[in-house]
């Protein structure tokens, strides 16, 4: 009964092997490190997809395992991106400014340099002063720490308030939506100090790095793959063992967990904050590949998509989240990129850029109704894991509890 962690979870090895093979294949096909079969922009798309997979794993942990349908985890993803973006923008502008001021007859004072950086960055919002929140932007390590601290603290405070008052189910989901909405509205303001609707841009350029985008894209691709691998293993470890038992117990019947003496609020807060931090790290790797981040990225709908990915991939199993996120986001890029030919019906032309969302919505409804295990459920065909017939009964009284078809024998 006391077999090792990996032995108890063979799916981890399979997942890691697939990820390693995929990374190797892309490396060998890329422009910078391989045969040049795929473009740099496609490498970036794949790298970004890996980050989306990581945030989906976090979403699965909080929703699929703990039963908290958070519709706000993309806010943490976005915040992570903003934190990294601040350093990237500052450091790069600093180099540019130092270069141009170096030709001045008098050596520039630190105040002059700071002013020049400020007017470069904040010119678009008609300002040149550094807002207080940029205090650490000059320091790489401090700003990297903020990637974890800012979203983590937000999650901690929000979660503490929400869980302490025992807000659950739909009300909690609405509350998390309100949080992302508030955050994105705040970021949209020029006074927020994060350049309003312009957002942060030029993030693909690493300061002081001479290498071309083809090489940089590969670094980020590898970094994202590594982050996904680590995140996956850590999450799998967290949900294995007794902690995982308690967390799944909370999902199905939190009152019962309380009567066993576990402080449900503490566990929920732990999971909520922990997943927020993972989401933030994923965002911090994503936006340098995207090159730009603006408040639209943390719009409430983004977090809803995240839940849809996990549902389509199959919640309550980490690889399901990865499959869902990878598939839906790649197919979505394909459809919305205008790569899929329109269907001409004579009287109407189905343009996939517009109709893709309808298709996605429809797949979501179909999966929820007819394949509650999601795409990840296909794995059960190989492993002979069958959902028992429970005559329609869910696995517990709570809203997030496993549904009949999601269980196993």
């Amino acid at each position: 009964m006391r077999r090792s962690f990996i032995a108890r979870n063979p799916s981890i090895l399979v997942f890691l092997a697939c990820l390693a093979l995929f990374t190797l294949a892309i490396t060998l096909m890329s422009e910078a490190t391989g045969a040049g079969l795929i473009s740099t922009s496609f490498v970036k798309t794949l790298g970004k997809t890996l980050c989306l997979c990581l945030v989906a794993v976090a979403m699965d942990l909080v929703w699929g395992y703990c039963g908290i349908l958070s519709l706000g985890h993309f806010a943490f993803f976005g915040l992570g991106g903003y934190m990294v973006g601040m350093w990237l923008m500052y450091a790069r502008t600093e180099i540019i400014v130092a270069g141009s001021l170096a030709n001045a007859p008098l050596p520039p004072t630190p105040a002059e340099i700071s002013d020049a950086i400020g007017s470069q960055i904040f010119g678009v919002v008609g300002s040149s002063d550094f807002p207080l929140i940029w205090s650490f932007a000059h320091s790489f390590w401090a700003q990297m720490a903020l990637v974890v601290i800012v979203p983590g603290l937000l999650a901690l405070v929000f979660g503490w308030l929400a869980f302490r008052s025992r807000v659950t189910g739909v009300y909690l989901s609405i509350l998390t939506q309100a949080m992302t909405l508030a955050l994105s509205l705040y970021l949209f303001q020029n006074e927020s100090g994060l350049r309003g609707n312009n957002g942060l841009s030029g993030l693909q350029n690493l300061p002081g790095v001479g290498a071309g985008q083809d090489a940089v894209s590969m670094w980020f691709f590898w970094g994202s793959a590594l982050a996904l691998a680590l995140g996956y293993v850590i999450c799998a470890w967290v949900v294995s063992g007794k902690f995982g038992s308690v967390v799944r117990g909370i999902r199905d019947d939190e009152a019962r967990v309380r009567f066993l003496g576990y402080s449900v609020e503490g566990y929920k807060l732990f999971i909520f904050t922990f997943t927020a931090v993972i989401a933030a790290i994923a965002g911090a790797l994503y936006y340098p590949q995207a090159g730009i981040i603006n408040p639209g990225e943390v719009a409430p709908i983004a977090s809803i998509y995240l839940a849809v990915w996990v549902a389509i991939g199959g919640r309550g199993r980490l690889y399901g989240a990865v499959i869902g996120a990878a598939l839906v986001s790649l197919v979505s890029t394909w459809f919305t990129g205008g790569l899929v030919p329109s269907i001409r019906l004579g009287f109407y032309t189905v343009d996939w850029v517009d109709w893709w969302l309808v298709l996605l919505g429809l797949s979501f409804v179909l999966v929820t109704l007819f394949a509650p295990k999601g795409i990840g459920g296909l794995v059960d065909l190989i492993t002979d894991r069958i959902a028992p017939n429970r005559h329609g009964a869910d696995y517990g009284p709570d809203k997030g509890a496993l549904r009949e078809g999601e269980g196993r024998k």
Binding site: R2, V238, S245, V246, G249, D252, Y262, S263, P388, G396
Partner: protein
């Protein structure tokens, strides 16, 4: 014998309906008590109050030698203080194995960090095996508990209750869905537990109560109607009228 739990003058109203009226009850440290009463008498609600699920409109619930006020504590802290509960409808974690259910209930530190780094010791695993044996689920240790029969779920929940090593066991209708032999076995388990701890058993089945050989409290319309030995209370005309006569 020192008093372990003291409930006094407790009342609860649900939407205008007085489910518990001025109820007083107390139990000693190593004592067995049966609570009987017709449907809707307030037996389950009484347990809800003691375990912190329902907070009463008035009254006091005092616990232990330090006389802690249970009404100021939440469910988890009350459970940690040593009150374990078995529900009327068996409530186990259906998506988890019998083993996982028992391991979760086992008396060990409850905070999240302690739990995250917890690895079952040989002692814990032995204890789980021993408990499973006591409740006749040794062969089902690795089965999903949702797959168990009603009676087996009752057993599992009793096992979980014992695993918590509480000082007070509140057991709501443990014998429902069990065969005669299983009922006898349940009585033995409960009597064994009552040697070292307090046990409160709610049960409809008179034969079951008789076998417990303990003091009986009769609840009716939310308050105590009679208290004493089974023979004593069943001879009480009021009890016969509201309960036995039906």
């Amino acid at each position: 014998m020192a008093t372990l739990l003291e409930v006094s003058g407790v009342s609860v109203t649900f939407d205008g309906y007085k489910a518990i009226r001025n109820l007083s009850f107390s139990i000693g440290e190593a004592e067995m008590r049966a609570i009987i009463g017709p449907n809707g008498a307030g037996k389950t609600t009484f347990m809800d109050i003691v375990t912190g699920k329902t907070s009463p409109d008035e009254g006091r619930v005092i616990w232990g030698e330090k006389s802690v006020n249970l009404l100021k504590m939440n469910e988890a802290r009350i459970a940690q203080a040593g009150i374990g509960r078995k529900f009327q409808r068996p409530t186990v974690f259906e998506d988890q194995t019998v083993h996982a259910n028992l391991l979760m209930a086992l008396k060990n530190p409850r905070p999240s960090f302690a739990c995250l780094f917890y690895r079952p010791s040989t002692r814990d695993l032995d204890r789980v095996a021993q408990l499973a044996d006591e409740v006749g689920l040794s062969d089902a240790l690795m089965r999903m508990s949702g797959e168990l029969s009603h009676g087996q779920k009752q057993w599992l929940e009793i096992g979980m209750l014992l695993a918590q090593e509480p000082r007070l066991l509140l057991v709501d209708e443990p014998a429902a869905g069990m065969t005669l032999a299983e009922r006898e076995h349940t009585t033995d388990l409960l009597k064994e537990a009552a040697k070292t701890r307090a046990v409160v058993v709610v049960e409809h089945d008179m034969e079951f109560v008789r076998r417990l050989e303990c003091k009986v409290t009769v609840l009716h319309e939310g308050s105590v109607l009679a208290e004493g030995s089974l023979d004593h209370v069943t001879a009480n005309p009021k009890v016969i009228e509201v309960y036995l006569g039906r």
